[in-house]
Structures are given as C-alpha cells and as structure tokens.
C-alpha cells in the first residue's frame, strides 16, 4: 500500500463514526463478576404440577425426582433456590435428597419434606414412596432407548447414522425403538448382551470404556443409567410389557422465568404417559440453549445465565417430544426517553425493552435514515440530488414519503427480485436455460413491482403448470426438479419449516414425522413433465390421477395432507397443489404469514424474530412472539400486501433507531434496542461502489449499465460478487448468501487492480474533480461525503481531507494563485515511493502507476502545459486517494 494512502486511511477511519464496530466487541461483558448476594425472600414453595392432594409420588425402587424450590422476592419476582435451601425429610429412611434437590426412595412410606432457606423461610411437601422393591421389568422403549439418546449413542454422527457405526446401528435419536431392539437384542445372535453376566455384555463394556470404543467412555458403572441397562440385560434383555403405557408428551417446569445475569434455574422435565402416570425425566432429557452467549444448560437441567441481557430459550428433547424453557434476562435500566410509538411494532418492541430494562438508542438522523432505507428497499445508495432534496425537505412526513417513493421504484422490484430469485433457486447450468432464468427473474420482478399479493405470488409458483414462456413460474419446477426438493423448498420458503429431516426419520426437534412429510409430498406427486412447444423447454402439468405418496417406513400410500391437518381427497383430474395452496393461504394457517413477515423483518432488522428465519419451530421460539403474531395478523388482514408490510416496518421507530449503541445496549443482538449494522450485500456493494465512484461494471452478455442487483441469475462468474458472498442459488436458504468479512474481501477493496482501475477511470469522479475548474475543494469534498454517507463531512474530516489534498494533490485551479514555490516544495518533498521497499509484489500495477505519477510531479518546471498536466495528475491521484479511503471505511461498507 502506498504510504500516503495508508496515512489517509488510518486518519479517516479513526475519525469516522464507526458505528459498525459494535457488532462484536464486549460480548463477554462482566462475565467474571461475582454473583450478587441473594435477595430477600418473602415466600418459598415447591414447584410441582397441579396434582391431586399435593402429594409427590415415587413409585418403585428406581423412581427419582428432581425437586424444584422457588422463592418469591419482595418485588414479586420468582427465583430458583433449589440449590440454596437445605432439605430434610421426616421420618428419615424413606427418601434421600442431595444438595441439588435430587430425590430418590429408600423404602416404602410417606414423609414430609422440608426445604429451609437461609433467611428462614420454609416450604414443605409430602412425598409418598410406593412399590419399593416391587419393580416392574425394564421396558425397552420407555427406559432403555432414552439412555442411548441422552448419551449420544444414537446421534447422527454415531450409531444413529444410516448404516450405523462400526457394525452397530441404532435408529436416529431412538425414534424407532423396534428397530433398536432388533439391532441390539437380535442382530448378531444377540452377542451384544450377556444375560448370565450382564456386566460382561459388550454393550456395557463398550459404553464404560472397558473395551476400546470409538465413542469413548459414555457411562460409569453405577450410574443410574448404567443400572437401568444392567438390570434390563439381567432381566433377559426383553422388550418389556407389550401393553405398557407409552409416552405421550413432556412438559417443563417452569416454562418461563425472568432471570438475572449470572443466575441459575433448575428445570424439571416430566413425561406424561398414556396411562396417566408421570415420570421425572429431567436427567434423561437433552438441553440446548439457542443463545449460548446468554445462557447454558447442564446435563441435569440446570440453566445458568451469563452476563448479557435478552431472551434465551432452552430446547428440551426427550425421545420424540420437545419442550421449551424461556428465560428473560433483563438489564433493569430505566427507560426514560422512549421515542413516541409510531405503530404496533414500536409498542411491542418497547414493551419488551421495558421488560428487559434495556433503553433503546436514539432515533437516527435524516441522512442515516435515507441511506439505510434506500439500501434496504432498493439496494442502492441515494443519488446526490435525492440526498440534498431529502435533507432540505421540511415536511414532517418526509420519511414516510421517502419510503413510498422507494417502494414504487423499479429498483425496489429489482432488489427484491434478486432476493427471491436466489432462494427460488433461479440458476442455470447451460446457456440455453437462460431464457428460463431470465423470464422467471422478470416475472418475479414484475410481481414485486405490481405488488402482487403474497398469497397470489405463492399460488402462482406452487400451482404453476404450462411453459415458461407463457407462465414463467413453472421455472421453479425446473430449478427444483425432484419431488423431495419441492416439498422441502416449499416448506422452508413459504412455511418457514425445515422439514427435510422428516424425509428419512422423525424430525429431531419437531413434531413432524415421516407420515407428515409424505403427506406434504403427496401434493407434488402428480407433477407431470413433457416436452414443451419450444425446444429445450419443459411443460409442467398435473398428471391425471389421484395424488398419493408412499411412506418408505410403512410402505403405505399417504394421501395429500396438510401439516397437522386431515388428508384431502380429490378427484383424479384435480391438481392437489391447488388444495395445498388453499391450506397455506388460509387466514388461520399458523405458518404461512409468519414465515414471510419473519423473513422480511430479518431483511430490514438484520435478525429474524425467529432465527434462522426459515427454521420456525416450537423449540426455536421467536424473540418477541407478540410482535411476530401482530405482524402476521396485520399481513393477513392487509390481503398479504408485501409493500404494506415493508412500509409498516420501515415507518416504525424501531427501524429508525440509531445503530450507535448507548451505554446499555452494545451487546443487544435480539431485542432491537438499536439498529444492527450489516455489511452491504455483494451486489449492493458493487453497485454502491460504482455509483459512488461514478463508474460502471460491465457484465458479459448484459446490456451496458446493468447493475449487479439486476443480474437475472448467478450464471455470470463475477469475482467481486463471489468474494463478497453472492449466493449461487443452489438452495432455498438465505444463508447461502454470506455476509462474513474475510481477508480476501479487504485485500480486494484495498489492493485489487479492478478497484484501482475504477478509481482511475476517466468516467470516475476523481478524474472529473481533478479536471473541474468551477468548484473549489470544500465543495467537492462536501459532495463526496454526501454521496458516500448522505451526510456532510465533520469539521475535523473537512480539515483533514483538505490538508491531505493540499499536501498531495497540489493546487486546485480554483485556489488563489499563491506561492508556487511552497506547492512545488511540497510536491518535491513527497517520497517517490522508491524507498518503500522492493517492488516485488507484482500484483499492484496501479500502485506503480500512481508512484510514477507522483514521481513526475517532481519536475514541475518543464514548460507550462506539461506542468499543468502533471498538476492535474497529482490532483487526480489525491482525489483517488480520498475515494479509495472512503470506500474502505466501515461507514461505507456497512448499512447502519
């Protein structure tokens, strides 16, 4: 890097408002701060489900129970004191309780259990132990299989994967216990179990590490789980009572809590069986927090919060059932000056912030808003005239007007067509498929431009038949050719559900089974294909017949069935896809509208209310459920008006908050207490660069002045776009687009020949500025800052830039013709670059050219014309430096 540029860059980046930097810093916060002394309690109680006569029942010698003791503070808050109390049981010898509240029976009988807090409060519960010593034989499905899940034996990376591991196979996450039983007790003539000497069983010796085991030691001899396994083998390794009750559901206690930072909360997980009895499976369930920065959960169901503020959900899985515990960790700061709510978004977000005690940042200024909303709605920077007009506009509703103007523009349609085109997988493998991808892209663009209601948009896509020429949405069936991909893409795109797991097995984090999957698949089972009238094109049609798919597990046909709905029967000539869309677009569909509003919310606010935006499931709860519901309802009520949705979001104060954090919310990443800055998308960045510098990028085969956002498909290999993470439209996931920063990107912007070429182009602003004799330097700097950031330069920036330009760019024509000598001396004193070191890089030709330019300035007295020329060259080089520095600033690279 040329040293003057380096200096300038450092200078500018230092003084620019680096709003974006807050993204990663300070996430650890006060992680090591000591826990505050316990609050004063006003009450204490044992948490338990509302059961008959308040009795805790332990049935059998191996019953166990996690106790949960909750205290009430003076402010009415509930806190977990399970580990902060001392337990005693009267009479003794019936049960035993450890410090974590783990209760086990010792003999039949009834006791009164007392928990005593150090502040003196007590709570009691009666416990009855029955059937001690009269244990029923171990039931394989209910008792053995959960152990495999708990210890990860049947995970996808282990024996649970298709084909198993090292010859031993289990059904994934124990969803098919009959198979597990087959594999374990019957396969290989039962060599894995040794009934006569259970401890010598291969199963146990491997699991305890007594024999070499790729998965390491998973169990210790004597563990309760070990005991269950041992007992099961000793009892003959049988399936158990074929009529035994099966598990129906699980629930967690408590299901939500407000917690303080660095606090703990014990969870209790109870499994409900078909015969009505209930078992504690706290230590057999699996726990996973969605935000590890906020909280973690231990194997025993103990949730520990970290130092951050926000909402965290802990997913609890037990066999095929899932439950969620949600914790809110408020900061507790006072919200003194909330901006007035503009719409329900503000009401609901501010309500959340109040709960959290998390003061939001201030509203952003007009320039920031204009740049932000232009990028988010149209994927481009505001034009200079737009910026000037907006900044000088006094209308109180100018932000609303601006949003409306942007929504009506072609650029909005182009930008969102780009977004949809990628997730609708509009890509081509061969050149002759261009017609398909171009037509489809144009259809999307037109639909967005005309603000086609979303339900119609989806109906046109999902029910498409015919040929791409007359009905471009059929392209989706060409882009997504396999039936399974159609089911999965449809679910992910339009329902926000990742259902692909259920193709091969029960969804691990969801209630969806293979039956559900193939019920959906049946809707696509009669999509027919034939040659089109245009060669190389296909005609999609409903293949006559009654739609049905086959569940590979059962081998049985499955009728088209909406998720959690009833099978739909249709005449053979009826296309079932119509019925699918009828279900999807019904006002009460729980997925359809939510998925879209969440997707768009993420587009504008950087983080979905559910994140990832297309993985909406019970176990991945929204950050603000009320807001998600309200947005969805408003969206449905509006007749699926996508522009109205965007308008509502962009008009909200929440969207218009500053990106700069206040003293409280720097670490907030999910409560929307400030605007989260994000790097410009690849296409937007390239266009912004061109727009700012005044150049164009030419794309092979596309008309001149085509912007990157307008490219109809990713078929063109554009290095810049690849480096900055443009998706290849290979999946329905927006995650294919990466916004990660990496070294290649930085180097490309800093050093690459293509960027340097743009800066030095004759059409570029540095050249024009150097030639422009009408305007003075401050004017040009002014314009430059308005173009880049929609704001005026600060005084400091102006001074710094002026100083730099004066030093390196020589005299501006508009400058008063003052002492040439000083100017010349300045120029002569410049390092020529020769001392910078060996020119061994070889990759930076522009750099060399630049050096040459400066070098020629050393000889200013060789005749007037040449001097004028070299002066102009120096001026241009200096302006190039300025532009170069600005495009490399975070303020330029980020939408903030």
């Amino acid at each position: 890097m040329r040293s003057p540029r380096g200096i300038l860059f450092a200078l500018l980046t230092a003084c620019l408002a680096l709003v974006a930097s807050s993204r990663a810093n300070n996430t650890q916060g006060a992680a090591s701060a000591p826990a505050p002394p316990g609050p004063i309690l006003t009450g204490l109680q044992f948490e338990r489900p509302a059961a008959a006569d308040g009795l805790l029942l332990l049935s059998g010698s191996h019953a166990q129970r996690q106790l949960l003791v909750t205290g009430k503070t003076a402010t009415g808050r509930l806190i977990d004191v399970t580990r902060a109390v001392t337990y005693s049981a009267q009479p003794a010898g019936v049960v035993t309780i450890d410090a974590s509240g783990w209760l086990r029976p010792l003999a039949n009988g009834e006791v009164l259990l007392t928990a005593r807090h150090r502040a003196g409060q007590t709570a009691t519960v009666r416990v009855s132990v029955q059937n001690w010593g009269k244990d029923r034989p171990v039931h394989f499905a209910n008792q053995v299989v959960p152990i495999f899940t708990k210890f990860g034996c049947n995970g996808g990376g282990c024996h649970g994967k298709s084909g198993g591991q090292n010859g031993f196979r289990l059904s994934l996450l124990g969803f098919v216990p009959t198979e597990d039983y087959q594999f374990l007790a019957r396969e290989a003539r039962g060599r894995r179990l040794m009934v006569s000497a259970p401890e010598q069983s291969l199963l146990l010796r491997k699991a305890t590490g007594a024999l070499p085991h790729g998965g390491g030691t998973r169990l210790e001899a004597g563990d309760p789980s070990y005991e269950v396994l041992r007992r099961w083998i000793a009892e003959g390794g049988r399936w158990g009572d074929p009529h035994a009750a099966t598990m129906q559901s699980i629930r967690v206690l408590p299901c939500s809590r407000v917690m303080t930072p660095h606090a703990r909360q014990q969870l209790v997980v109870l499994a409900q069986f078909t015969d009505g009895h209930c078992e504690d499976v706290t230590r057999l369930a699996k726990y996973e927090a969605n935000f590890s920065e906020l909280a973690g959960a231990s194997e025993t169901g103990l949730v520990t919060t970290n130092g951050q503020t926000g909402d965290v959900a802990v997913m609890i899985r037990y066999q095929s059932q899932v439950a969620v515990f949600r914790a809110t960790i408020p900061l507790g700061a006072a919200l003194t000056s909330l901006p007035p709510a503009r719409n329900f978004i503000d009401t609901l977000v501010f309500q959340k912030l109040r709960q959290l005690g998390l003061p939001p940042s201030d509203l952003c200024n007009d320039g920031t808003f204009l740049r932000r909303v232009s990028i988010d709605i149209t994927g481009r920077l505001p034009a200079l005239a737009e910026t000037r007009a907006f900044l000088s506009d006094d209308a109180p509703d100018k932000r609303d007007q601006c949003i409306n103007r942007l929504l009506a523009s072609d650029e909005h349609a182009e930008y969102f067509a780009n977004k949809w085109s990628a997730i609708l997988r509009n890509s081509r493998k061969r050149d002759e498929q261009k017609r398909r991808t171009y037509l489809f892209h144009d259809w999307i663009r037109t639909a967005i431009h005309q603000n086609m209601p979303y339900d119609q948009f989806v109906r046109a896509l999902v029910t498409a038949s015919g040929e791409v020429g007359s009905n471009p949405p059929v392209a989706w069936y060409e882009n997504v050719r396999e039936m399974t991909d159609q089911v999965e893409d449809m679910a992910q795109l339009f329902l926000g559900l990742r259902i692909q797991c259920a193709r091969c097995h029960h969804h691990p984090f969801e209630k969806w089974s293979q039956q559900d999957y193939y019920g959906l698949a049946a809707f696509f089972s009669h999509v027919g294909r034939k040659s089109g009238a245009q060669p190389a094109e296909t005609r999609i049609f409903h293949r006559w017949g009654v739609a049905s798919a086959t569940n590979p597990k059962t081998g049985q046909p499955v009728a088209p069935t909406p998720l959690a709905g009833q099978p739909i029967s249709q005449a053979p000539q009826q296309d079932p896809r119509g019925a699918l869309v009828d279900w999807m677009t019904a006002a009460d569909n729980p997925f359809f509208a939510r998925a879209l509003v969440n997707r768009y919310w993420k587009h504008f606010l950087d983080r979905g209310l559910v994140e990832p935006e297309d993985d909406m499931r019970e176990t991945n709860p929204p950050a603000n459920p009320e807001l998600l519901d309200a947005l969805a309802k408003r969206f449905v009520d509006s007749g699926y008006d996508m522009q109205a949705l965007i308008r509502t979001i962009c008009q909200s104060r929440v969207y218009q908050l500053q990106a700069d954090p206040n003293e409280f919310n720097a670490t907030d990443r999910q409560s929307y207490s400030r605007f989260y800055p994000r790097r410009l998308q690849a296409e937007v960045l390239l266009d912004a660069l061109d727009q700012f510098v005044g150049t164009t990028t030419s794309f092979a085969g596309m008309p001149a002045a085509t912007r990157a956002v307008q490219l109809p498909d990713p078929g063109l290999d554009v290095y810049f776009l690849n480096v900055f993470g443009r998706p290849r439209a290979m999946s329905a996931c927006e995650c294919e687009r990466t916004s990660d920063a990496n070294l290649v990107q930085s180097l490309h912007l800093l050093n690459s020949a293509s960027i340097q070429k743009k800066l030095a182009a004759e059409s570029a602003r540095p050249h024009h500025f150097a030639q422009d004799t009408q305007r003075d330097r401050p004017e040009k700097i002014h314009e430059t800052y308005l173009r880049a950031f929609c704001r005026e330069p600060t005084e400091q920036e102006m001074a710094d830039v002026l100083a730099y330009l004066a030093e390196h760019g020589g005299r501006e024509q508009t400058d008063k013709p003052r002492d040439h000598a000083v100017q010349d001396t300045n120029v002569q004193n410049q390092p020529t670059g020769k001392s910078d070191g060996p020119d061994g890089d070889g990759h930076d030709q522009k750099e060399q050219a630049g050096k040459g330019k400066l070098a020629t300035v050393e000889k200013p007295h060789e005749g007037q014309p040449k001097a004028a020329k070299t002066e102009a060259a120096a001026r241009q080089a200096a302006y190039e430096d300025l532009y170069w520095a600005l495009i490399n600033s975070k303020e330029f690279l980020f939408n903030h």
Partner: protein
C-alpha cells in the same frame, strides 16, 4: 447495421465477407440466413442485403408471390459503365402495389440453384430502418404511429424508440421476429412519459411480443426492444410495427359448417363498429368484439380454398414453428382464409376452420359434471379455455353430454394446440352411471392426453398435445366429456378449441421436406436447400401422417415439374410412414424455377383420397442438442435445376422388356438391376452405394462392373469446369442385387441407392476465369485512364505557361483533377476486382469434397412365389446392355 461507407469500401467489404468462407468438406449448398430489411411496403422499391453461405454470384431472388421481383444492385460509377460492378448480396426488390400484406417466401437463385428460404413481409405501412444509435433512452429513435421499423437486435444492447402520442391515442406495437424466421426472442417494454414502465410483453404471438396501449396522457412514450436473453447480431432481425388499424386476433367459433353462412365473433383491437368484449387479453385489456356473417365454401370445393396460412397477418394462423408437423398437417387442410371479414382493407386476414358437421357452441356455465351441456352427435363443439369465473389456479373445465347407442363407433378429438394455441388439452370421457344423470361423477371410460407422435424424426416427430381417442360403445347411454387445459398461468380467450364427435374417418395428411443427408442426428436437423444439379438428382422426403386408423398404401407423384426434370411415382406401402421421392434433372435442364406439388393418393373403400403435401423446412441449423431447432411450414416447394453439373450420378436401367424402372420379383428370389454410373469429375473414394432404407426381408448389394467404352477416355479424368465446355463424362456400369426373403411381405416398394463419394471439385471455375478477364480488362482501362490523366496534367502545365485566360487555366486544371479522380476510381475497382479474381482463382482450385448422390427410385413389386412364372423370367437375370 453498418455505418455509412463509400460504395467502394462496401464493395471491398462485401467481397471479403463473401469470400472468407471456411473450406467446406461438402459441395456448395446455398443457405440463406437473413434478408435485411426483411420486408417492405407494397408499391415501393426496397434495397435489401442478404447473408448466408454459398450465396456467391446469386443473381436473382425468387419469391412466392409473382408481384415481388428483384434485380441485383450495382455500384454506381457515373458514366463509366465498365466500372459498374454487381454488389454481392444486394438486391433491389420491387413490391407490386397489389401484393396483399402477408409473409412470403424468398430464396436466392445462383450457380448452385435455389437457396433455403427466408420470410419476406409485405405490409401497407411506411417503413424506416433502425438508426442503430438508439441504445440508450436519451438517444431513442423517434417513431410515429403507422410505421414499420426494420432493425437488428445487437448482442447485449437495447433498442429504444420514442413514440409521441396524444392522450387517448390507441396504438398496437408489435414485434415480428420468430414469425419471420429471425433468431430473436423478443421482449418489448413500454414506458410512459414519466419513465414508468407500463407494459412488458413476451411470447404473445408465439415468441413474439405485442403491446396494446390507449395512451393515458399525452407525451413521448418510450419503447424498449431487445432479445430476451440479450443475444444479437445479423440473424436477430425484427420488424417493429406501430399500428392504428384494425387487428383481428381471434375468431369464435374457430370453425364453420361448410356451405353455411354463419355468424363469427371477432376479437381484436381497433375493430370498427365493435363493442367492448367481456373477454380479457393476457395483458389485462378487455378485447373489442364484433360479429360478422361469413359464407363458408362448400365441403366439396374446400380443396380450392386451402389456406396458405403464411400469407395472413393473423398470428394464430401461423402456428408456432415447432411442432409444425402435427399442426401443419391438420390445420391447413380444413380451413379457409377470410381476407375481408368486414369492410376495412387494412384489417388482417384470418383463417377459419371448415367442417361438414353441425357446429355447437359451448355454453357456460358447464364447469362441473352436473352442468354438462347436451350436444347432439355427430357434431363439432366450439369451445374456449376461458371462463369469467376463473381465478388463479382454478382452471376452466368444460363438460358436455351426448347420448350414444349400442355399437356406436366414435372418434373423439380436440383441436386446439394444432390451431396454434398455447394449450395442453386433456379429454376425459365418463359414462353416466345408471339412469340417474345426477349421480356422482360416473365411470371413467377414456382418458386422452397427447396425440400420436409423428414418425420420421428430423425434428418433425413432435407430439401433438391435442388428445384423440376412439370410443366403441358397448353400453348405450349418456356419456359425458370433460375438456380441460392442463396449464395454469395465463388465461387467454384466444385459446379456442374444436371438439370433434363423429364416427371415425380413416384419413391421412402429407408433409414434404428436403432434410439434410449430412445430419449425424435426426434430432439436430440441418437446413438443406434441396439442390438439383444438372444431370443429378434431388431427394424429397415425404411423410404420411396416418389418422383415425388409416393403414393403406399411398402413391405419391410430383406435379408441375419444370421442363427437363422428372420423377418416378413413389409408393409408400401400407403401414409405412415415409418415403423418398427423387427428382432427376436432364443433362441440359434449363434453370427454370417452378413451384411443384407433391400429391398423394390413397383409397378408403371406394373413395379415392387425394392429399397435397404441405412443404416444411428447418429454420436454422441446430448446432447442439436441445438447441432451438425450428421447423416451419413453407408456402411452396420450388424446384430449379442448377447450372452446376452433378459430379456423379447413378441410374438404374430399365430391363430390356420394360419401359420404366419397374421390377417384379417373387419372394425368395434375387434380382440384378443394371446401373449406369456417370462420373463427371475424378473420384477420390471407392464407389459405394446402398439403399438408405430397406424394407424388412430385402437384402441389397452393389457392384461396379467395368468402365464403358468412352469416345475419349482421356477426357474422363478432366475436372468439371462448370457450364464452360464440359468434358466428356466417364460412364461406368454396375449392378444392384436385391435378394428378397421368402417371408418378405408381398407389396410394392420404392427403393433407391444413395452414396457419399469423395470427388474432386472446382468451385466456380467459369466465374474465376471471367473475373481474371475482367481484372485484365480493368487494368487496361486503368492504363488508359492513367494516360488520359497524364495528358490532362501535361495540358494543364502547358496551359499555365501559355498565356491563357484564368478561366481557361482553371478549366484545364479541373479537367486534370477529374482525370485523376477517374483514374483513382478505376484503380480502386481494379484492385477490388483483382482481389476477387485472386480469391476466386484460389477457390476454383481442385479440392476434395463429399457429394451426396441418390439414384432415381425404382418400383419393386414383390410377388408370391406362385405368380413368378407368369411374369418376366427375371430371377438371376443380368441386364443386357442398354
């Protein structure tokens, strides 16, 4: 388009372009790629530029309408006649004022005969050329209503036009590209004066776009035209028409009972005396509608009114180019052109179908089983895939009910795809259960989707999407038919259909074309001009589309052949789908071009059916699989013997006792057919001939006997030199042995021999010689002019020294300058002529080329063994000398 160049520069460029052809491994076959402009206004003279391969020395354009005439263009060189040079590939086309508007075939005639065809459009509007600087909105080319712009799409460029309109002006902007053989897949966009996009159109008429606009405000509207995937070049030509005249886009019903005077509903734009229709075009506009009464021709005279679908402007009458096989075969037979639907000469002509059955129009609502409309049979139902209640995703269904008697034999067929509509119809037939017609859906008895695939390959074997089925009624009662279009998306009221319900009528249709023999893969056809060289042959492939159970044999004859051209009748046996008709040109056949008719005759019981073949042609060579192969119907099939002699020919000889090439053979026997092989140029490969197609049970072998005595054997090895002083050909004799297996079906066969020998060939030797002479002549002229210039200069110098008046001196000086200019002009022409002569001489050097040679076809009758003795004793017979 090129920027303006001086005529000399143009000449040089053209010469360079036309000569810079890659060395080809085959004989020259002229292929015409483009004509620009691709049309003109009736009653005007248009200068056109053509492009293609092997078009050198084409001197004439041949059109499918006698009112279109052409002459080659020459460089203008003032009084110096000697310097006038024909400009290659440029012609002046005179369009008669009375030529009706429509699309005509245009071909080039040159030393190798007729080229492949391109469309040439005649319209009544004024014409301009795109100015080629209109690639950004600010530089949009100004246009006005009632104008046709001829343009090219450039690669990755956009063409802009500025159209000023008053508020309320109605215009129709249409782009003609696919319909006129262009590679362009057009898109039109229209922006209002404020720059807001009003419309985007694609694939409105086939792939061609069209926009209808009633200007909401006064101002300059912007039209943006480009190829959908931004391709472009010379072959991406288009005509952009801005009309304010009546345009009929659809008729309903799509057919009329022969001999009747029937009402016809016209849908379109700017129709005089029309009312707004309730039917909405796919761009959202309500059509205009008007009723007219039309007198249909009678059924017996329908052959005379056969529709030349290419001559009308109504796009629906020109089915999309692909699938032309099934479409062209059916549609043109039973339709007639309505050129004057109402008194407006500017309105376009339309094709209306003709039937001998009563026509029943569909009555909505008939969307459900229970709403089925009762129709008497036999009948034709006219319906539309359109219903006002239709919303996205819910298709129009049309239900009809008819009563069938025991043992009724019914042919059920839908015609819609073949009428040129973008539809995919499905036909279901259910029998109403019991006597209760209100009972639930009935029992499905027929499910018909696509029609039969046309056999034969060559890109013609596409499936007709129209369903056809046969119902032999075993249970008398009520039957219900459901007709539905299986595609969603656009709901287009133009999509009408004919539902035929009547007893079967075995029938056949015929297609004819000249497919390239060089195709490696019939799925990737190459264009082929069907060149007939003097003394040589030309093959025309004839396809029989068998319908409704037609299985019988067909005899095909060619009628209207030019003098000196002959063709033996072609027999296509029962069950077979194609055959090759061979035309043979006499050694001295004149280069007279004439459209010929291929007529096929078959018998249905006592009735003789005569069907005229519909000529079809391939639009472009298909370079790679799944490329845009396009086939289209052509208005005619023109034959013209080329002056270039065939390098080699092979002819079976009649047996001593027979007058023609008819042979008879019994099953299980062998026959030797004598052959005469005429070799006009040296051969570079072994002589090998074999039948391209052989019926099962017949085995063929070929053998060359000996060289026949020639008057001057030394001449035999001389190279052919065009029409100039042709050397004596070398005559060889050969034998073609056919062995017929005992189980070979008894039938009449047409058989022929074909081969691809490598020959030594000289390209245009006579033209090369003439060019050399001309160059010498021009050199001489230049010398003379140089002398004249020197003389004039001398005179001017002398004049300066003499005491002449200033005006006299000036005159001398001017004369010297003029002489210098003449010399320079002549020098340029000479240089160009020299360059051309050099290139022609190089091209005329003998090179190895592959020739495709077919023999005239023979007529072979295979008889049962018993009849053998009663006929000629031909078994194992070797033919005697001629």
């Amino acid at each position: 388009m090129q920027t303006r160049l001086s005529p000399f520069c143009q000449l040089v460029l053209m010469l360079t372009a036309s000569m810079a052809l890659p060395a080809r491994a085959q004989l020259p076959y002229p292929k015409l790629d483009s004509i620009f402009p691709p049309g003109g206004q009736a009653g005007t003279v248009v200068n056109v530029t053509v492009a293609g391969t092997d078009l050198d020395f084409s001197h004439h354009m041949v059109f499918s309408h006698p009112g279109l005439k052409s002459s080659p263009r020459h460089t203008a060189t003032g009084a110096w006649h000697d310097l006038q040079t024909p400009i290659p590939n440029q012609f002046q086309v005179t369009i008669g004022a009375s030529v009706p508007e429509g699309i005509y075939e245009a071909r080039l005639l040159g030393p190798w005969g007729l080229s492949t065809s391109r469309a040439f459009v005649v319209d009544h509007l004024d014409e301009v050329h795109e100015n080629n600087t209109n690639h950004e909105p600010a530089r949009a080319m100004a246009v006005r209503p009632a104008l046709v712009v001829n343009g090219h799409a450039g690669a990755a460029t956009l063409d802009y036009f500025r159209l000023p309109l008053n508020a309320g002006d109605e215009v129709l902007v249409e782009m003609w590209a696919e319909r006129i053989d262009s590679r362009l897949d057009g898109t039109l966009e229209l922006f209002d004066p404020r720059g807001h996009r009003l419309r985007t159109s694609r694939d409105y008429q086939g792939r061609d776009p069209q926009i209808v606009l009633k200007a909401p405000v006064a101002g300059a509207y912007l039209i943006k035209a480009y190829d959908t995937t931004y391709r472009g070049g010379q072959d991406w030509f288009y005509r952009l028409a801005i009309r304010q005249t009546a345009q009929i886009e659809a008729v309903f019903p799509p057919m009329i009972t022969a001999g009747s005077k029937s009402p016809l509903q016209l849908l379109g734009w700017q129709l005089p005396d029309s009312v707004p229709s309730s039917l909405r075009a796919i761009d959202g506009h309500l059509f205009q509608q008007r009723e007219v009464k039309i007198s249909a021709p009678t059924w017996s005279t329908r052959a005379n009114t056969r529709a030349n679908t290419r001559a009308t402007r109504n796009p629906a009458d020109r089915p999309p180019l692909t699938s032309v096989g099934p479409r062209a075969a059916d549609q043109t037979e039973d339709g007639f052109v309505v050129a004057n639907a109402f008194a407006d000469p500017s309105a376009n002509a339309v094709v209306v179908g003709l039937t001998d059955l009563p026509v029943v129009a569909e009555q909505e609502p008939n969307n459900t089983f229970h709403q089925a409309q009762h129709v008497p049979i036999p009948a034709e139902v006219a319906g539309r895939f359109y219903s006002q209640q239709e919303d996205a995703g819910h298709q129009d269904r049309d239900w009809f009910q008819f009563e069938a008697r025991q043992r009724d034999d019914l042919h059920l067929e839908v015609l819609s795809f073949r009428l040129g509509h973008n539809v995919d119809p499905l036909l279901l037939v259910t029998r109403v259960a019991g006597t209760d017609s209100a009972a639930a859906p009935g029992k499905l008895v027929r499910h018909a989707d696509d029609g039969a695939k046309l056999p034969g390959g060559w890109g013609l074997d596409r499936i007709s999407l129209d369903p056809v089925t046969r119902l032999q009624v075993t249970e008398a009662g009520s039957y219900r038919i459901c007709v539905v279009d299986q595609q969603s998306g656009q709901v287009d009221p133009r999509n009408a259909y004919r539902l035929v319900i009547r007893p079967p009528r075995p029938n056949f249709r015929v297609l004819a074309s000249t497919p390239s023999p060089w195709n490696a893969n019939p799925e990737q056809p190459l264009r082929w001009p069907g060149v007939l060289r003097r003394g040589g042959t030309m093959a025309i492939e004839v396809w029989i589309v068998r319908q409704e159970g037609w299985t019988g044999p067909v005899e095909v004859v060619a009628r209207g052949l030019p003098a000196g051209v002959t063709a033996a009748p072609l027999r296509i046996p029962a069950g077979s789908h194609s055959g090759t008709m061979v035309l043979q040109a006499a050694e001295q056949a004149a280069a007279v071009c004439q459209p010929i008719r291929i007529e096929a005759t078959g018998r249905r019981g006592d009735t003789t059916l005569i069907r005229l073949a519909q000529p079809v042609a391939f639009e472009w060579d298909t370079a790679k699989p799944r490329g845009l192969t396009q086939v289209r119907a052509t208005a005619d099939l023109v034959v013209c013997a080329a002056p270039d002699p065939a390098p080699l020919s092979v002819s079976p000889l009649p047996l001593a006792s027979a007058a023609d090439l008819s042979y008879q053979i019994a099953q299980g026997k062998t026959i030797d057919i004598p052959l005469r092989i005429t070799q006009r140029v040296p051969l570079k490969s072994k002589l090998e001939f074999a039948p391209p197609k052989l019926p099962a049970g017949i085995v063929s072998s070929f053998e060359v006997d000996a060289e026949a005595p020639s008057k001057d054997p030394a001449q035999g090895n001389k190279v052919s030199s065009g029409s100039a002083a042709a050397p004596q050909p070398k005559i060889l004799q050969g034998r073609w042995r056919l062995t017929v297996a005992a189980d070979c079906p008894v039938a009449e066969y047409s058989l022929l021999l074909a081969g691809k020998p490598k020959v030594t060939y000289r390209r245009l030797p006579a033209q090369a010689a003439r060019a050399a002479q001309r160059e010498q002549h021009l050199a001489h002229l230049v010398k003379q002019l140089t002398a004249a210039r020197q003389q004039a200069e001398q005179r001017a110098r002398e004049g300066a020294t003499e005491k002449l008046l200033a005006s006299e001196q000036d005159a001398l000086k001017k004369a010297a300058e003029q002489a210098a200019q003449h010399e320079q002009a002549a020098q340029q022409v000479r240089d160009a002529a020299a360059a051309q002569a050099k290139k022609l001489a190089a091209a005329a050097k003998p090179t190895d080329r592959l020739a495709y040679v077919v023999s005239p076809s023979i007529h072979l009758t295979v008889t049962p063994p018993a009849t053998e003795s009663s006929k000629q004793p031909i078994t194992k017979q070797t033919a005697g000398s001629q």
